[in-house]
Symmetry: C2
């Protein structure tokens, strides 16, 4: 069983405080390290990976993007704006997709990742008014 260390608590607390932001491990590390400078990057990576493996948090893997984590573990999907990089939630019932697609494939489904990429309403608007695109598609 995993141990109840101070580092683990801090990482989990920061992840919870960032609910809805879908932070990368790097981003979680930044915040943890700002609050508690002794906590190392490797530890943050290890804890996040470990918790995701245990299902206590959700690992969010979007195409061509860094790994992200989400304190929400209920069934939902994600959408990312190519321009601003923000990741939003899409609500949907658990198991619905696997039932739709693969109920006769013989696979034992363990994980479903559905992600959309596009341009969000705000960025689309901004790209129309300003001539130059915001080009601010940073990893948050």
């Amino acid at each position: 069983m995993q141990r109840n260390t101070l580092q683990r608590k801090r990482v989990m607390d920061v992840l919870t405080s960032l609910e809805g932001e879908h932070p990368s491990a790097e981003r979680v590390y930044e915040r943890v390290h700002t609050l508690f400078p002794t906590v190392s990057k490797a530890t943050v990576y290890r804890i996040l990976k470990d918790e995701a493996a245990h299902g206590t948090i959700l690992g969010v893997d979007l195409p061509r993007d860094v790994g992200r984590y989400d304190s929400r573990t209920d069934g939902h999907y994600h959408i990312r704006c190519r321009v601003c990089g923000r990741v939003s939630d899409i609500e949907r019932g658990d198991g619905e997709l696997s039932r739709m697609f693969v109920n006769d494939s013989g696979f034992e489904i363990e994980n479903v990742q559905l992600s959309f990429t596009g341009v969000c309403a705000e960025c689309a608007k901004q790209m129309k008014t300003a001539s130059a695109p915001s080009a601010d598609a940073k990893k948050i």
Copy 2:
């Protein structure tokens, strides 16, 4: 306009010959390089990326996996076995998913990635008969 080089033709030919395998850039490079040892890795990566950007081939991004490419460009999705690593096709009508999920999100959808991870029938069977799992989840 992109130039009609020998390297480009070779890379595209190899990708076509590997249809259904969903090879990584590395895998394509291996084959190209075996057939034509002068072709460099950077060129293979560049050509594949370029063709995918032009939509002439499909870039396949599965969670926590290397980038893959597919000579099929019609609407379909993918499923990967966690054990053997093989990627299979799932057929589905174009645009169906975006219509289902995000028709009121305000997003302009540019890309949909849906992927399932699990254990394929063969591997599940093998894991039941043999006591030790095959542990052969190599990148093909």
